[in-house]
């Protein structure tokens, strides 16, 4: 393939940003100075020339972070460095919300206006920003900054939230939560003046985990108690004990313990973790590389548990992954972290390098012949990349479009090799299972929902935050644990499982928060979101925001989802404006039909659940009549 470039040239800064990420180019063929004597007159292609595609997302990040936007010249340079067609690089870059392909001021505030923040005054914040700085997306403060409306930033326990990023030679990112218009303006000003502090935010663990320090905690026992940056403190509180034991008992026994524990995935799909690992273990003799991936692309509106865990106990995530690697025979692991989590990124990067230094990652771990290393990957603003096959495409440098299943990831996942994808919360359960034994773990909770669960309690609740309980309690108990209903104190609805979940009414508070309990009332636990709405909230507005969320976040690959989410939003808008086409009944019937087609015919879980919150509301209330 002969790559064709437009005439646009990269600037020196753009080149430097890319080279800092990829290393200096080796020859004239991949973007360096041309020396005919050493480069020759023929470029040798083959597999090697096309084998750098997985570095595309980091390279695009580098330009965005250093320059503030990605120009045609930068696209050309990245294409040349990686041997990729510029049209495809453009296609990938334009997929991600955090990348700007038009010139944009270097300092940008992403202001969350998603459902959890809506209950805590985000509309007011946005209105004030409009008055102070002008409309969202337009340059302000002398053209040096801009503010944008953003989907959920995963800071729901301290809503309303904002994230400020300042591009430049030393890029900076700060979160502000709870955010005020004045606070955001001040951070933008500091960003413009280059005064944003280099050290990251120190978010108080006590504010995110109201239970912190309680003796009953298992998964969260270290958070807020021992330092998240000290490997020694982690080891002193049983850290890496489980890995030692796992190496002792060997991969087969580890898989057996995890199967015995009845651990189900905590990301939303609730697939048995042990089964996934067993599928990889059984393929060990085929000689293909295996991968383990920690899915940390937590983007479901209202979900923030994984963020809190990664910020407060990053070594536990690494230990869980290392045990997974031992069990599945993987030599390489990836943590795919959502782009909006700068603090978690820093904590994880620090933990990875500390673990490497201490011989807990890399070659010959603990001197026991185990080889495994982890690479941290940051997403760039795409909810869909939390879908496991979209996540593979994103790491590989393609657009984050889900693949059709089968083949399943355990057969053909990352780089088409056997892959196990596990959520952050799932992985931190693993060391506990190994320490206490699978059968003992299975006795915690209920028969079909074993173990501990983290809940993201937010919205109109007195003490929002991450809560840990063994499975089996009811929704009412959890709400009481979080201090009861806040706002005006009169509960209207609870959203379980996030935007892809379902609404329940105050009459259903005695539902047991288990996989089977929620299924019985037509709801889901999803990612553990429990979002409360008092009766001052206009549920129609919440439904419309959810519809708009899916419209913004669908990848656009398959027709039912790409067009369905748009038609769903339009129909809702007409119903809310009380201008139905035909009657309200025909509109509602149409919504049901769209929901059915999206659920049945979409490629992935996004389209299949894009109507579920709306339909659960239609089932429970006669909202539109």
């Amino acid at each position: 393939m002969d790559i064709h470039f437009t005439a646009d040239q990269p600037s020196a800064e753009e080149k430097a940003a890319v080279d800092q990420e990829l290393g200096a180019p080796e020859t004239g063929w991949d973007g360096g100075q041309r020396h005919v004597a050493s480069d020759g007159r023929v470029a040798f292609g083959g597999h090697d020339a096309g084998s750098h595609r997985h570095k595309l997302l980091p390279a695009l990040h580098a330009v965005q972070e250093h320059i503030g936007w990605i120009s045609p010249g930068a696209i050309n340079y990245i294409s040349q460095r990686l041997g990729l067609p510029p049209a495809e690089v453009y296609g990938v870059a334009s997929f991600y919300q955090l990348f700007s392909l038009t010139k944009r001021p270097p300092v940008v505030a992403h202001v969350c206006e998603d459902i959890a923040c809506m209950t805590r005054g985000s509309e007011e914040v946005c209105r004030k920003l409009e008055n102070k700085l002008g409309p969202a997306g337009k340059p302000c403060m002398g053209g040096k900054a801009a503010w944008l409306r953003s989907p959920c930033l995963g800071l729901c326990e301290r809503a309303p939230a904002a994230l400020v990023s300042a591009a430049g030679k030393s890029p900076r990112e700060r979160v502000l939560a709870p955010a005020t218009a004045d606070g955001i303006e001040e951070l933008l000003r500091e960003g413009i003046d280059g005064k944003l502090p280099a050290e990251s935010d120190a978010l108080s663990m006590k504010a995110s985990i109201p239970q912190a320090g309680s003796a009953n905690l298992v998964l969260l026992r270290r958070l807020g108690k021992s330092s998240a940056t000290s490997l020694d403190e982690y080891r002193k509180s049983d850290g890496y004990e489980a890995l030692r034991k796992a190496i002792e008992i060997g991969p087969e026994a580890v898989v057996r313990e995890v199967i015995d524990s009845k651990l189900l995935g905590r990301g939303g799909a609730a697939f048995p973790t042990g089964k996934k690992w067993e599928a990889l273990l059984n393929q060990r003799k085929r000689g293909r590389p295996h991968y383990v991936i920690c899915n940390a692309d937590e983007s479901e509106p209202g979900t923030f548990k994984d963020r809190v865990v990664m910020e407060g106990d990053p070594f536990a995530v690494l230990e869980g992954m290392t045990i997974a690697a031992l069990a599945t025979g993987a030599k390489k692991g990836y943590i795919y972290l959502r782009g909006e989590y700068p603090f978690a990124a820093e904590r994880l990067a620090h933990a990875i390098s500390a673990a490497r230094k201490a011989g807990l990652l890399g070659e010959n771990i603990l001197g026991r012949g185990l080889n495994f290393d982890i690479e941290l990957r940051r997403g760039a603003g795409a909810y869909i990349c939390g879908e496991e096959t979209a996540l593979f495409n994103s790491i590989e440098g393609y657009r984050g479009e889900p693949r059709n299943k089968p083949p399943f990831p355990t057969q053909a996942g990352l780089f088409r090799q056997p892959t196990s994808v596990n959520n952050v919360e799932t992985l931190i359960n693993v060391p506990e299972i190994i320490r206490m034994g699978g059968t003992a773990y299975a006795k915690i909770g209920t028969t079909n929902s074993a173990g501990y669960r983290l809940w993201c309690v937010c919205g109109h609740v007195a003490r929002p935050g991450v809560y840990e309980t063994p499975f089996g309690g009811t929704l009412r108990e959890l709400i009481q644990m979080a201090g009861g209903v806040a706002g005006n104190g009169r509960l209207q609805a609870v959203l379980l499982g996030g935007a892809a979940g379902a609404f329940v009414t105050p009459k259903e508070l005695d539902v047991p928060l288990t996989f089977e309990g929620t299924r019985a009332i037509g709801a889901t636990l999803g990612s553990g979101v429990v979002m409360l709405f008092d009766d001052s909230v206009d549920l129609k507005k919440i439904l419309l925001r959810i519809a708009r969320f899916f419209r913004d976040e669908t990848c656009g690959q398959c027709v039912p989802c790409r067009v369905g989410v748009v038609r769903q939003q339009e129909t809702l808008e007409r119903l809310i404006a009380q201008k139905p086409l035909g009657t309200t009944e025909t509109e509602v019937r149409m919504l049901r039909e769209m929901g059915q087609a999206m659920r049945d015919a979409s490629i992935c879980g996004l389209g299949q659940t894009a109507s579920s919150a709306l339909e659960s509301a239609l089932n429970r209330w006669s909202i539109f009549s």
């Binding site: 064709h4 437009t6 049209a87 453009y90 334009s94 790409r562 748009v566 087609a597 015919a601």
Partner: protein, 306 residues
């Protein structure tokens, strides 16, 4: 061999030429479609099996010569034991599968897909659409006149093709034909996301500025007329395009020695476009710029004015 003759780079093997191994016998897979048993070779898709039974399955993004991308979802069928419907074009047949191709669920999804497409895209030049819409009772009007569409002015930036993306259903075929499935030029890709996803060159630069080599293979696979020969586009604009007055003649391309089959479309004594049959073993429907567009020399030149 004289001393002057160049030595072959690869030594010529002595002895008899080894025979090619016999083709591997493919195991047969038996499944049930709409109550009828059917047996297909391993690796076949549900679509293959349905076609073998004479069941007509609608397809839009599928083409025999391209890798299935299963994005249009108009071919979905109901597979017993599966939570969701499955795409017939890409799902491999497995032993014991039980499939319904015309159940209520299947018909609803197919109808909705057709309504979604026809309400957001101009399908007036998509030959398959009217038949499908009638078959499934699709009524795209029911989303109202304000339903959002992808309408936009056509892109006319060169003398050979017109790209009218208001007719694009995003079937990915042109991207596949421009990329690894045929041409390996990679001038176009899918850009943007969601309803705003679209086919584009880098930064939407004009085709003349892009990697395009004007092979026209993207036009050859486009199912809706979003990509069109300029000759056809101009005639349609002028109202002179009339397929009933056209003849199609197969011939061999006069340019190089590859021997591509050309189908010459003629109307009123002039060549109006050139295509190639999909089932042709040399081209699989693909041509190069010369075969596709270099036909004007055939037409009698008008006498030059003195």
């Amino acid at each position: 061999m004289s001393d002057l003759a160049p030595k072959p780079l690869i030594p010529v093997p002595r002895g008899p030429v080894p025979e090619a191994p016999p083709p591997r016998k493919r195991a047969m897979v038996e499944l049930t479609i709409d109550g009828q048993k059917v047996s297909v070779p391993e690796g076949s898709t549900i679509l293959d099996a349905a076609r073998q039974l004479g069941i007509d399955t609608p397809t839009l993004c599928f083409l025999e010569t391209l890798a299935p991308v299963n994005v249009c979802r108009v071919c979905v069928v109901e597979l017993e034991g599966s939570r969701v419907l499955v795409p017939a074009c890409s799902r491999k047949a497995e032993p014991g599968m039980s499939i319904k191709t015309d159940s209520e669920r299947v018909r609803l999804s197919r109808r909705m897909v057709l309504e979604f497409l026809a309400s957001s895209v101009d399908v007036s030049t998509a030959p398959q659409f009217p038949g499908y819409a009638k078959r499934y009772g699709a009524d795209p009007e029911r989303f109202g006149s304000k339903a959002e569409t992808v309408a936009q002015p056509p892109k006319i930036d060169n003398d050979l093709y017109v790209r009218d993306y208001s007719k694009c259903i995003l079937c990915y075929k042109c991207v596949e034909a421009c990329g690894v499935d045929a041409q390996n030029t990679f001038a176009i890709a899918v850009a943007g996301r969601g309803f705003d996803a679209h086919i584009s060159t880098e930064f939407d630069t004009p085709l003349t500025n892009s990697a395009c080599v004007y092979c026209g293979n993207c036009i050859g696979v486009c199912p809706t007329g979003a990509l069109m020969f300029k000759s056809e586009y101009d005639m349609r604009q002028a109202g002179t395009w009339n397929e009933s007055r056209q003849t199609k003649t197969d011939t061999i391309c006069p340019y190089c020695g590859v021997g591509c089959v050309l189908t010459v479309h003629e109307q009123d004594g002039s060549i109006v476009k050139i295509t190639s049959p999909l089932d042709q073993s040399v081209t699989h429907g693909n041509l190069c710029i010369k075969g596709r567009f270099g036909y004007r020399f055939v037409e009698v030149e008008k006498p030059r004015k003195k």
